[in-house]
Amino acid sequence: MPDYSLTPAAPLAGTDITIADTRLVAPADLAVVSVALPLGAENAAEAAIKAVYGVALPEVGKSRLAKDGARLVRLGSDFAFVIFTHPTPDAERVVAGRLKGAVYTTDQTDVWVALDLSGANARRALERICPIDLHPDAFGIGDSARTVMEHLGTLIIRTGDNTYRLMSGSSSAGSFRHAIETSLSNIA
């Protein structure tokens, strides 16, 4: 019988660098599960989400922190991401189990990589690659946007005053980090 085991190796695991007084960190064990609201049963789905997470699904372009620390990000009218810390490869099952068929779930954990950018120069660095207006008046804490940076589809979430979470496709993780690092070194 097989006695092999598989060791995970997430593409950007361990990234923690500081350039231009700005820190770039890959959060560990981040799980991402997409939830799609069934057509005609959106209200029931939203109610189930609220019941489970304690907060309502936010509007499109916004995110909200659930009581358990999970972040709900509404990406479109009928779909959202649940982003939470979860080390094992069963995140989808966990979310599906809690929402009990009220939504369609797909595991997106390995589809994405995430980098957290924090520091006074974070916005200045992002100005070089992010087409979204990140001025605090235009992009509040919790706001999110899916856009394109250096030819890479990217999800950006403002998680704090000077902190942003950036997520992009895992296969292009190296180019993604390179784009952000270059932005930082170009303003340093």
């Binding site: 097989p2 598989l6 005609g40 369609y104 997106q108 070089r128 087409p131 207006d133 296969s171 784009a179």
Partner: protein, 982 residues
């Protein structure tokens, strides 16, 4: 060389000295100088040669409109041709060389063209150089090309880096002269987000070049104070050295910031940044550009624009000459005379075309009324001017003012047309401005200082009020409305010598007249025929006078004759800046497969597949070339088992109550009845009936499917599926999400595939042939509990599976599969072996599904259902797409088995001539089949399915070869399809 022309004052730092070279000669200047002001200070009058006649030329202006003073700046790979000396900030160690001459600048051999100029008038080249025909390319054109062009590229890779960025604001103010500063102050104080950008390195615009007072202090000082206030506002961003070069749709502006061009080296930082500014509103306060008056030999070094002469004196503390006469048709020219005299420069004469009293008192200057300049003397530097009455005045500089043209350029970038204003004899912005833009100050024809300040404030206030801001308090500083009378006067008619209009391209008054004579009378014909306005300055000083002369010829007014409208960019933008970071290996992102590290450590050669890097083959020691590796990989797979990372195939999660019905509409073949736990091959058509993509789709549960697409079409298929879901069948409950990057997927192929997988798949899952037959799928666990998906599908034609694990386990999975496969000699294989095996098996891939072929061509016509609604089935039935003699996909093998087939060969029936009329089809894919020991090919040939066994010619004239090939079944291996079911 000493700074013989340095005079008092100016905004230069005299405490510091910087050294630079021009044509190898060391000179000195000060911080705050431009290269042009420093050259003038050093008495360097001759700085370049013109484009066509190689006439000696000097500095003509003090700004970005400069036509003459173009240099090759810097050395080696940093060499930057056609750089305007007038906007180049001086730095220590600057090297500049003049350009466009053969021999030295002083003794340019090409100047002979000037003496031949009677034969080189407008459009001469359209009328000759035609005989004999071959001589154009062999003789005439090379000569023309060599003598044309201006500066030289280094031919080396640009060593600097560039960046881009995105800015957003409520109000973009373009130009930081009096109107722009006032606009920014008004908007800034209201709290609006403001960007104030100016191409100059010192903000303030003409205030830095004039002696006029604002708010009771010198204008330049007022500007500095305004800038201090603006800099302190958190809502205002000041951007010096930033040219807003283009007005694009919906308030988007292109801007180029020059970050390190004023430094000796960029120090590894971006040389320039290309900003895309998204503005809600904009105020264009770009000022005005002075225009010359044409007269005989008005192109001599020393003939300059009057306002520029004033700039050099007031801003840079330099006089372009010791004896400076002024030639003007307007009041403004007089200020040059007055300012020079105030600085102690001798102004012998003010030549005014008007019969009007003196505008102001200029001590020492003769006021010559009602006169013009007809000629000049001094080939390499002005010595004297000759007036209409014949008198000669010795001067070394002539300051010419023909009036000022508002800088309307950006108002035209969305095809807006300027309108003519007689009172200032100039075009001003029309009504059709780019939406969101308003114009203020001289750019709008408000030609006096007080008017510019007032308009800057008023326009900015109106703009921000429209955005809901309450205008802040911004008092208007006191300023004067200086005299601005100007009469239309374009060229000195009494002059019989050539009078230049476009200095760089050598277009003269005579050329415009000839253009008219030959029927090139519309403005665009004039420009194209004479090359007027086509030079690096885009005719900023030349277009309007030329238009005026054409108007004279036609007897029409200037606005009737036409307008020239401007297109981006306002001033030239380096291609490097437009390219930003996207060059070299950073041109596009790399996508790596989950087992990339393993592959790299195991001898893989990688190949670009779209943005992916895939392992092409895995070389082993002793193998002499790629074929050795590929043959081995194929044979090992067919003999035992091979493993290939196939993650790059697109994967789309399809869920919903209507998922099955949806798939049934997007695939040409049936999907409604696919059982849970089964996979089906699907063929997708475009709506026009052409085969588009193929792949397998697995039904994981009642309402959950996993679709695979080809690597190339993953994004496109997803887009089309969303279109079908949202636009065609909007009430279907179906949801799509890409999982391509989420699953590391491996093909495990070969007779021992199941034996290998049994060691990896956890025992709870029965993968026997009975429990998990061909085209089965399911969720399993591997390696003690890691979730995985298993699909029993085969691209190679062997017993094969694809096993998918979450991508984070991909590299480890490859390792485990190889370890577990050791006993079977498991072999990793790359895309080449994959390709060989699919050709051996007769599977169509990208070369066959090339967007030109139908299911009918591919031999899959019967898969296209006509009994259900699905994309593409109706148009696939058009008569000429179903022709019996349509090309069909079949196999080919060389009659002489030792020969290699060539992909791209065309087929010719034996006995026919090789011509397009006899073209029977083409070879789409070929490979050497190690299994068969000869070359095999797939291709399309007319009636192919009925021509089995026929020998045809496969011709490849581009290789100079042809060979006989036999038409055979495309299924070279296991035609009965038994292996995958084993």
């Amino acid at each position: 060389m000493s700074q013989i022309n340095r005079i008092s004052g100016g905004q230069i730092d005299r405490a510091q000295e910087v050294k630079f070279t021009f044509n190898g000669k060391w000179m000195r200047g000060h911080p705050g100088d431009t290269l042009a002001s420093a050259l003038l200070a050093n008495g360097q009058r001759l700085v370049g040669r013109s484009f066509k006649y190689h006439r000696p030329r000097g500095i003509f202006t003090a700004g970005s409109e400069e036509p003459n003073a173009l240099v090759e700046l810097r050395k080696g790979a940093h060499q930057e041709p056609n750089t305007r000396a007038t906007v180049t900030e001086l730095f220590d160690g600057l090297h500049a060389n003049s350009q466009n001459h053969r021999g030295s600048l002083e003794h340019d051999l090409m100047a002979v063209t000037d003496f031949l100029s009677p034969f080189l008038s407008a459009g001469f080249y359209y009328k000759t150089f035609m005989w004999p025909r071959a001589f154009w390319e062999k003789l005439y054109e090379p000569i023309i090309r060599k003598s044309a062009g201006l500066g030289r590229l280094s031919m080396q890779e640009d060593p600097d880096i560039y960046d881009k960025g995105y800015l957003h604001c409520d109000l973009l103010v373009i130009g930081a002269g009096p109107a722009g500063l006032m606009a920014a102050l008004a908007a800034g104080r209201s709290g609006a987000r403001v960007i104030l950008a100016d191409e100059d390195f010192t903000l303030g615009g003409r205030l830095n070049s004039e002696t006029l007072e604002v708010g009771g202090m010198p204008g330049a000082r007022w500007a500095k104070e305004a800038l201090v206030e603006l800099a302190a506002m958190g809502n205002v961003r000041l951007m010096a050295r930033t040219t807003v070069y283009g007005a694009y749709d919906h308030g988007v502006y292109g801007a180029l910031e020059r970050c390190t061009d004023h430094l000796a080296t960029s120090g590894g930082k971006p040389r320039q940044i290309l900003w895309r500014v998204t503005s809600k509103r904009a105020v264009l306060a770009a000022g005005a550009t002075e225009r010359p008056i044409a007269f005989g030999n008005n192109d001599r070094p020393g003939v300059m624009l009057a306002g520029s002469v004033r700039s050099y004196a007031n801003r840079y503390g330099v006089t372009p000459g010791q004896q400076v006469a002024v030639f003007t048709n307007n009041d403004d020219g007089w200020r040059t005379a007055a300012d020079l005299v105030a600085k102690g420069v001798h102004v012998p004469a003010i030549i005014d075309v008007r019969d009007a009293p003196a505008v102001c008192d200029v001590p020492g200057a003769r006021h010559i009324r009602n006169a013009g300049v007809v000629d000049t003397v001094g080939r390499k530097g002005l010595k004297s001017v000759t007036l209409t009455d014949g008198q000669m005045i010795p001067v070394d500089c002539l300051a010419v003012s023909g009036g000022w043209n508002p800088n309307v350029h950006l108002t035209c970038h969305q095809r807006g047309r300027p309108t003519w204003r007689d009172d200032i004899s100039a075009f001003v912005p029309g009504r059709d401005l780019p939406p969101g833009m308003a114009v203020a100050g001289a750019a709008n024809g408000a030609m006096t200082l007080a008017a510019a300040l007032a308009e800057g404030r008023a326009v900015a206030n109106a703009q921000i009020e429209a955005l809901g801001f309450k205008p802040g308090k911004a008092d208007l500083p006191r300023a004067e409305d200086e005299p601005r009378d100007c009469v239309p006067y374009w060229h000195v008619r009494e002059s019989t010598k050539r009078g230049w209009l476009d200095l760089q391209n050598d277009v003269t008054v005579k050329d415009v007249k000839q253009s008219h004579r030959e029927g090139f009378r519309s403005v665009e014909h004039l420009k194209r025929y004479t090359t007027l306005g086509m030079a690096t300055d885009q005719g900023k000083t030349a277009n309007i006078p030329a238009l005026a002369i054409m108007a004279e010829c036609t007897g029409k007014t200037i606005p009737e004759t036409g307008t020239t409208i401007f297109r981006p960019p306002y001033t030239p933008v380096p291609i490097g800046a437009l390219g930003g970071r996207s060059r070299g290996r950073d041109f596009r992102p790399y996508r790596l497969t989950p087992s990339h590290v393993w592959a790299k450590n195991n001898g893989a050669t990688f190949v670009e597949v779209g943005n992916w890097l895939r392992a092409q083959w895995f070389a082993r020691p002793g193998e002499k070339g790629w074929r050795d590796s590929v043959d081995r990989e194929v044979l090992a797979t067919r003999k035992s088992v091979g493993i290939c990372d196939v993650t790059t195939l697109g994967k789309i999660d399809v869920q919903g109550r209507d998922a099955a019905a949806f798939l049934n509409k997007v695939y040409a073949n049936g999907f409604a009845k696919l059982a849970v736990g089964r996979v089906r091959y699907g063929l997708m058509l475009r709506e026009d009936g052409i085969a588009y993509d193929d792949g397998t789709t697995a039904r994981m549960s009642e309402n959950h499917f996993v679709m695979t697409t080809t690597t190339a079409n993953a994004v496109l298929v997803f887009r089309r599926l969303e279109f079908a879901r949202q636009c065609l069948w909007p009430d279907m409950d179906v949801h799509l999400i890409s999982t391509t990057d989420g699953w590391a997927q491996f093909a495990v192929a070969g007779p021992n595939a199941r034996n290998l997988l049994r060691k990896v798949v956890d025992a709870a899952h029965d993968i026997s042939n009975e429990a998990f037959p061909f085209m089965a799928c399911g969720e399993v666990t591997v390696c003690n509990g890691t979730p995985a998906r298993l699909f029993r599908i085969s691209f190679s034609g062997e017993l094969a599976y694809e096993v998918a694990v979450p991508a984070r386990y991909g590299n480890a999975m490859m390792d485990v599969l190889m370890q577990a496969g050791q006993e079977f000699d498991a072999t990793p294989y790359g895309t080449e072996a994959l390709g060989v095996m699919r050709i051996e098996k007769g599977h169509a891939a990208g070369n066959e599904l090339n967007g030109q072929t139908t299911a009918h061509n591919l031999g899959m016509g019967r898969m296209v259902s006509q009994t259900k609604e699905c994309i593409g089935n109706v148009l696939s039935q058009r008569p000429e797409m179903l022709r019996e003699d349509a090309v069909k996909l079949v196999g080919f093998r060389p009659v002489d088995r030792d020969r290699g087939l060539i992909a791209g060969s065309h087929f010719i029936t034996k006995g026919d001539a090789a011509s397009m009329d006899n073209d029977q089809g083409w070879m789409s894919s070929v490979a050497y089949s190690p299994s068969l020991g000869h070359s095999v090919g797939l291709g399309f040939i007319k009636n192919g399915d009925t021509r089995m066994g026929e020998i045809v010619r496969a011709v490849s004239p581009v290789h100079g070869t042809e060979m006989e090939v036999e038409i055979v079944s495309a299924h070279f291996i296991d035609p009965a399809g038994e292996r995958p079911r084993a």
